[in-house]
């Protein structure tokens, strides 16, 4: 693909996707800004996603059929695109969570010796 992101972004991309899926799984359908706000809230302000990263990621996930976007109105009556987890997305999330736990365990063991 001509628009392949750099290697560094690739690494990030995996975790970003996982985070988005997890957020949608726990909070239900959200629009882009709410997702970014949630990240910021959860990370205590440490993780601020810029929209140049977030929206392409959402689009990518939608293209893979993991989430589905629909137009709706916000509580302040603004038009917004809400993203919801699909069944495929939920399965993918389960798989990636397991993989993540496994990987995190391995890395933890590597870094800190036997837990």
């Amino acid at each position: 693909m001509s628009n392949a992101p750099s290697k560094k972004a690739d690494v990030l991309q995996g975790t970003l996707d996982l985070m988005v899926l997890q957020t949608l799984d726990s909070l239900g359908p959200l629009h882009g800004y709410a997702i970014a706000a949630r990240f910021e809230q959860v990370s205590g302000g440490a993780l601020r996603l810029n929209m140049g990263t977030l929206y392409p990621a959402l689009m990518r996930l939608e293209q893979r059929g993991l989430i589905r976007g629909t137009w709706d109105t916000t509580e302040t009556n603004r038009k917004a695109r809400y993203y919801a987890l699909t069944a495929t997305g939920r399965r993918q999330l389960t798989r990636e969570k397991q993989a993540w736990d496994q990987m995190a365990g391995i890395i933890h063991t590597l870094l800190h010796g036997k837990a």
Partner: protein
């Protein structure tokens, strides 16, 4: 799976208009709004928060781009755009599109149609298991057959059995014999193809029966004991209704009862795919299947084709080598057998030297393939040439259009399209044309195939089908054609030098014409090859058709009758045949009637080896073809009887019991075996055993005639024996009737006569022998017809191409032709000018074409020698004739445009010029011509001089050349030492390195005394003294004139004006010119006056026309490049104003919105005018927009990058002054760069006063040097500040008095308007400048850009 889903999602997004950029924007806008809201809630600056969010996202446009890329498939988008563009372009030029498409359709259609047959006849493998492991076994050398039945690659059945035991190399071997039988599975008889096969046949092929079983080893036991029949799937389906109980059904083969044991699988037709078998019988049933053949187990009966399956890993070569020891031993054993013929020692040696070779057998054995391979490949090669030619044609057309589109392409490139993109665009266009051509071609292909089938033998299963293989071929041909057609134009476009176009030094048109000529030359060359081929094939056909046949085909009709085939008892057949013969003999339509067991120009029939009682007992070297004939056979056919007699009743009496008693042989037989002596009365025996009885008497000798084939002479010896009157043999035969009147009319009478004997008896293959001759020449007829057709099509295509190029050349040179004719060139001379041009192309094409044709002829001499029977492939006459014809037609194609050019009156020739100019020119020319003729009428000498001068000019290539040549001619005629032409140029009359003032002495004298002025050395001296005393101003001129040593000055008058002066040196050996010579010079003066006037006229007219077009286009470009209106901005107002001069200048301005609430203002003044300036402007705009949007560059960096880019585009030949400022609105800060532009003003109110500062920081102009550094200037802005950037057209605007507007006036004006919004300032400024200019001519564009800070 995931990739697939993502891809389809992207594809959908690309194709679906629903989620377009609007959606994306809306989503991002919401995000930013929410960012602002949150900031407000937190008490932060919402604007700042949004700004940071934007910057983090890399600018709004950047995020959008990333998402757009993410969303769709960019290349698909691009491709769709290319395709759309191609479609629009093609639709705009329907004539071009249709021509190009049709020529490719012709090429692709012909190729596909012929390939369809090539594939069916030559390329398909047998539908059996692992066909590539099958080999065909061929006996190479002398096989000493006693009986031969069939064509080529023959072997005996016992040999085939031996081969099955060669297990080291083979996984089995089998043999087969093709034939025809009468077959009945019910009441009706069908004549069907049969394969007699060994029991191993189906096992080795590795196929499974659709029903029942196959013939197997158990059917190989005893001759006549295995009445098992396998029928083909198609016959079972179509004729037997697919009955499931077919196995076990009793059937009749010829008259023998047999049993169906199985059905072959669908699609299997035996070893000959072109002529598929319907039945398979065990070889043991040969006697039942082929009348008269009972020697299945004879080792010297050669009638079968042997195949074997190679063991895996064994190659055909290895098998050939490995088989030889066994084969040699077998040969040796053969010679010791009892039934081995008694032959001469050299015959035996040749026999023992034979080898057995394994040839590729994956395609089986096909008589059709053997016969048609060469003609079909030749046709295929011809059509490939034709397609190539069509591609060249389309390439030529595209190039022709490329010449017209040059400006469009250059502009697109200047606007930022890459070379790659342009190239791809042209290829896409070509591919699109090819695709349309391919679709039409595919539709036409079956028609081509059908036409070809006409030339194929009957009884094959060939069909004009388009299956997936043919479709793939057509698709491939289309792709190749598209790429080939697009390659040349794309290459041409990619070489188009952008810099040259921008700086106005375009040479593309000359290169384009050369390229097109090269393409036409290539087309003509290919045409020559095709025509030469056609010439050879036509000659071959003519030679074969007209060669001596030895029989008389006129009014001769033949047909085959087969009484046994229709169900009447076999024993009855001879009676029916005899009755038929007698009835026909009695018919009034018949002049003579006879019959034989084989027709004319058909199959050979079996041959027999003979023992001959010549001067000693000899055996024939090979079987002699034997024909059974009835009485009067030779007289019916018109074959010459040379000695002895024909057969009569006595020869057939008791024939069944005694066998043949008499034989007739032909001349070749006599030459070969009787040494040319009369053999009548000599005896021969059938067979070659030591005890063969010599019991047959030669009763007659006939002339050679072409019974089997019109082509080869390989077996000219023939023998003829009497047709049996009765008995089991001779169930069928061919009747020959020499009719009275027209043969076609006789058909009905013949049918009626046959019906009288037996109404149910069919006449098989009723035809005139003339038609049979044409059938025998089918493949030659096909080659000659189609190659002539292709040659004609090729000729048409390339002549059209040549015509196109020559028309283009003529249009280009029309002005020149007009001028030459105005100067007295004859019409034929003008035509010659163009024709000479074309002749070079044609000569190059002829040389190339002949080289290709001869290379082919010498590279494949064997192949061609067989393909063009009896005609030398390098036949010089054919080539000469073809070349002459091509040259003649090609010349005709260019004489027409040339003639058209010459037919124009000289006045109309330079049509692009304003009418009034031409009326004046016409009058001048007319007057000059009248005077010229008057002069030449009085003096013969001046007449020949004029002719000589005119002749010299016609030889010239350009006007300066023409003048040079004419001067030299004049000098030589009058014998002057030198000649000098001084032309008026402003205040001087000058030649290349000599000039005199227009208000000087000589010109003064000539003006008042309008005749040749003789000069002497004394004259110069006297003038010098006079000037010294009275007119010192003339001294320099007189000294210069004296220095030339001129002896006469001839004024050149044109319309009461002195257009020039001719200065001539003294004639050889004399000091002065005679009166006659002066008269001559006067006459010549008129020619020269006209000549130089026209040179100027031509140049001026061209210049004006070019300028007019340039201006229109440049104005259009400029109009498009300038922004329609300035963007809105809260903290500043923006305005711009431009007043274009009548001649378009190069002013440019632009407003750009930058990320972070910044604005950019740009003003530029491009050096030069017209197209070059407009193109440079577009390049500047493109680079500015790209650089400003994509990079967060400081103004100085941006200027440096742009300077580099412009330098690259123009090679330092042009430049622009440029001012660029970034306005950070919120911070009220101005950052700028000034690249050689006249300094903009920053107008600021301080208290009640107004201060004007000049913005000068920056560097030199853009584009002059490859690397330049610039400095940024910074200004902090205050509310009310006014930034005014302008071009020098403002300060240099002149009023009617010629006074400039000036800096001060501008500054005063700005002081008045300081503090007003931009719009107001703009309107006041423009009003003032307009007022100032008033009715005066405006020389340069006037442009302002104004920014006022709120």
């Amino acid at each position: 799976m995931r990739a697939l889903r993502e891809w389809s999602h992207r594809l959908w997004a690309t194709l679906s208009p629903r989620r377009r950029d609007d959606d994306l924007e809306e989503e991002l806008r919401l995000h930013l709004d929410l960012v602002a809201e949150d900031a407000r809630r937190r008490g932060d600056d919402p604007d700042e928060a949004v700004r940071i969010a934007r910057i983090e996202a890399g600018g709004g446009a950047r995020a959008m781009d990333a998402m757009r890329d993410q969303r769709g498939l960019p290349w698909l988008d691009d491709m769709a755009r290319d395709l759309g563009y191609a479609l629009r372009t093609l639709r705009r030029n329907p004539g071009f599109t249709a021509t190009a498409m049709l020529s490719l359709a012709l090429g692709i259609g012909a190729n596909t149609g012929i390939f369809s047959l090539v594939d069916q006849v030559l390329l398909r493998r047998l539908p059996v298991n692992d066909p590539e492991r099958l080999v065909l076994l061929n006996w190479k050398g002398s096989s000493l057959p006693v009986v031969e039945m069939g064509d080529s690659n023959l072997m005996s059945y016992p040999l085939c059995r031996d081969l099955q035991e060669q297990e080291r190399f083979f996984d089995g071997a089998f043999c087969r014999h093709p034939g025809q039988v009468n077959f009945s599975a019910g009441r009706e008889y069908d004549v069907v193809s049969v394969e007699l096969v060994s029991g191993s046949y189906f096992r080795v092929l590795g196929i499974r029966p659709a029903l029942g079983r196959f013939i197997d080893a158990s059917d190989d036991q005893h001759p006549g004991n295995h009445p098992a029949v396998v029928i083909s799937y198609d016959y079972w389906r179509n004729r037997l209704g697919g009955a499931q109980d077919v196995v076990g059904r009793k059937v009749l083969v010829n008259r023998s009862p047999m049993t169906v044991v199985g059905v072959a699988p669908s699609g299997f037709g035996g070893m000959d795919a072109a002529e598929p078998a319907t039945l398979w019988l065990p070889a043991m049933m040969a006697r039942e299947a082929t009348i008269e053949f009972s020697r299945v187990l004879n080792r010297r009966a050669f009638w079968m084709h042997g195949f074997a399956r190679l063991k895996p890993g064994v190659t055909a070569e290895a098998a050939t080598a490995g088989l030889q020891p066994w084969f040699k031993a077998m040969l040796d054993a053969d010679t010791r057998r009892e039934d081995f013929p008694r032959v001469q020692p050299e015959q035996q040696r040749a026999f023992l030297a034979s080898t057995l070779e394994a040839l590729p057998g994956d395609q089986g054995w096909s008589r059709l393939r053997a016969r048609m391979a060469q003609p079909l490949w030749a046709l295929m090669a011809g059509t490939i040439l034709l397609l190539l030619l069509a591609c060249l044609n389309v390439a030529g057309l595209m190039l022709a259009r490329g010449a017209e589109r040059g400006q469009e392409l250059t502009t697109r490139m200047a606007l930022g399209a890459s070379r790659g993109r342009i190239t791809r665009q042209l290829i896409v266009e070509a591919l699109f044309i090819a695709l349309a051509g391919g679709v039409v071609g595919l539709a036409v292909a079956p028609l081509v195939s059908r036409a070809l089938l006409y030339f194929m033998p009957q009884g094959t299963n060939l069909a004009p089908v388009i299956d997936h293989r043919i479709f793939l071929f057509a698709a491939g041909a289309t792709l190749v054609a598209g790429v080939l057609s697009g390659l040349a134009p794309a290459f041409q476009a990619s070489r188009r030098p952008l810099a040259a176009s921008i700086t106005g030094r375009s040479t593309a048109s000359g290169a384009n014409v050369r390229f097109r000529k090269a393409i036409v030359a290539a087309q003509l060359a290919l045409t020559l090859v095709l025509l030469a081929g056609a010439g050879l094939f036509v000659q071959t056909l003519a030679r074969l058709y007209t060669r001596e046949r030895g029989f008389d085909s006129s009014r001769l009709v033949m047909f085959r009758a087969d009484p046994a085939g229709t169900g009447s008892p076999v024993s009855d057949a001879p009676r029916v045949m005899l009755a038929l013969l007698q009835t026909l003999q009695g018919a009034p339509i018949a002049e003579r009637v006879s019959l034989a067991n084989n027709g004319l120009l058909g199959s050979a029939g079996p041959g027999r080896v003979l023992t001959i009682d010549s001067d000693r007992r000899i055996v024939t070297e090979r079987p002699v073809p034997m024909l059974r004939i009835g009485a009067d056979y030779f007289s019916t056919l018109g074959v010459k009887l040379i000695a002895g007699r024909e057969f009569n009743e006595r020869d057939t009496v008791d024939l069944d019991r005694t066998g043949f008693r008499s034989v007739i042989v032909n001349e070749s037989f006599v030459r070969r075996y009787f040494g040319g002596l009369n053999p009548v009365g000599r005896r021969v025996g059938i067979g070659n055993l030591p005890d063969t009885p010599l019991n047959v008497e030669v009763v007659g000798v006939v002339g050679d005639f072409r019974r089997r084939s019109l082509h080869d002479d390989s077996e000219p010896e023939h023998m003829f024996v009497p047709f049996a009157r009765s008995g089991a043999v001779a169930g069928d035969g061919t009747f020959f009737v020499r009719v009275r009147g027209k043969p076609a009319a006789a058909f009905a009478a013949i049918r009626k006569a046959v019906a009288e004997v037996d109404p149910a008896l069919p006449l098989i293959g009723l035809t005139t022998v003339d038609d049979q001759v044409m059938r025998a020449l089918r493949s030659e007829l096909m080659l000659a017809t189609l190659s002539t057709g292709f040659g004609g099509a090729a000729l048409l295509l390339s002549v059209v191409g040549l015509f196109g190029v020559m028309s283009f050349v003529v249009t280009q040179r029309t002005q020149e032709i007009g001028m030459r004719m105005a100067l007295g060139a004859t019409r034929s001379a003008a035509i010659w000018l163009i024709v000479r041009d074309a002749l070079v192309t044609i000569a190059a094409a002829a040389a190339l074409g002949l080289a290709i044709a001869l290379t082919v002829a010498f590279a494949f001499p064997d192949w061609l020698n067989t393909a063009v029977d009896g005609v030398s492939p390098s036949d010089l006459r054919t080539f000469a004739a073809t070349t002459t014809m091509l040259a003649a037609v090609a010349l005709a194609a260019c004489v027409i445009p040339a003639g058209r050019a010459a037919a124009l009156s000289p006045m109309v020739a330079i049509r692009e010029q304003p009418e009034s100019l031409w009326r004046a020119a016409r009058l001048t020319v007319g007057r000059a011509m009248r005077e010229l003729t008057a002069e030449t009428g009085t003096s013969l000498a001046s007449g020949t001089l004029t002719a000589a001068v005119a002749g010299a000019m016609h030889r010239a290539d350009s006007f300066p050349d023409a003048v040079e040549l004419a001067l030299a001619t004049l000098r030589d005629r009058v014998g002057a030492r030198f000649i000098l032409l001084l032309e008026r140029a402003g205040a001087e009359y000058r030649s290349r390195d000599f000039a005199i003032p227009a208000n000087g002495l000589l010109i003064n004298r000539l003006t008042h005394y309008p005749h040749p002025l003789a000069l002497t050395a004394g004259d110069f001296e006297a003038w010098g003294r006079w000037a010294d005393e009275l007119q010192p101003a003339y001294r320099a001129e007189i000294a210069r004139l004296a220095g030339t040593d001129a002896r006469i000055a001839v004024p050149l008058w044109s319309r009461q004006e002195l257009a020039g002066v001719l200065l001539l040196g003294a004639p050889a050996g004399r000091e002065a010119f005679t009166a006659d010579e002066k008269g001559l010079l006067s006459a010549a003066a008129d020619v020269f006056a006209l000549l130089i006037e026209n040179v100027g006229l031509n140049a001026r007219a061209l210049q004006q026309e070019k300028l007019r077009r340039d201006l229109a286009l440049a104005a259009e470009v400029q109009r498009r490049l300038l922004p329609a209106e300035p963007p809105r901005c809260e903290t500043a107002t923006l305005a711009a104003f431009t007043l274009p001069a009548r001649t378009v200048g190069g002013d440019y301005y632009d407003f750009l919105e930058l990320p972070g609430e910044r604005m950019a203002i740009a003003v530029a003044d491009i050096a030069g005018k017209g197209i070059p300036a407009a193109l440079l402007m577009s390049a500047l705009q493109a680079s500015l927009r790209v650089l400003a949007a994509e990079h967060d560059l400081s103004p100085s960096q941006l200027a440096a990058r742009m300077s580099g880019f412009l330098h690259e585009s123009t090679a330092g030949n042009s430049y622009a002054t440029f001012f660029y400022a970034q306005l950070d609105v919120r911070r009220r800060r101005l950052q700028y760069v000034n690249a050689g532009h006249n300094p903009p003003y920053l107008v600021r109110r301080i208290g009640t006063g107004v201060e004007i500062a000049e913005l000068t920081e920056g560097g030199t102009v853009l584009g002059l040097f490859p690397h330049v550094e610039y400095q940024d200037g910074h200004v902090d802005l205050c509310p009310g500040d006014l930034l005014v950037a302008f071009t020098d057209g403002v300060t240099e605007a002149r009023n009617e008095a010629g006074e400039e507007f000036g800096d001060e006036r501008l500054q005063d004006l700005l002081r008045e308007v300081a503090g007003s919004p931009a719009e107001t300032v703009s309107s006041i400024l423009s009003d003032r400048v307009r007022q100032w200019i008033g009715a005066a001519e405006q020389h340069d564009d006037v442009t302002f850009v104004i920014a006022a800070v709120n």
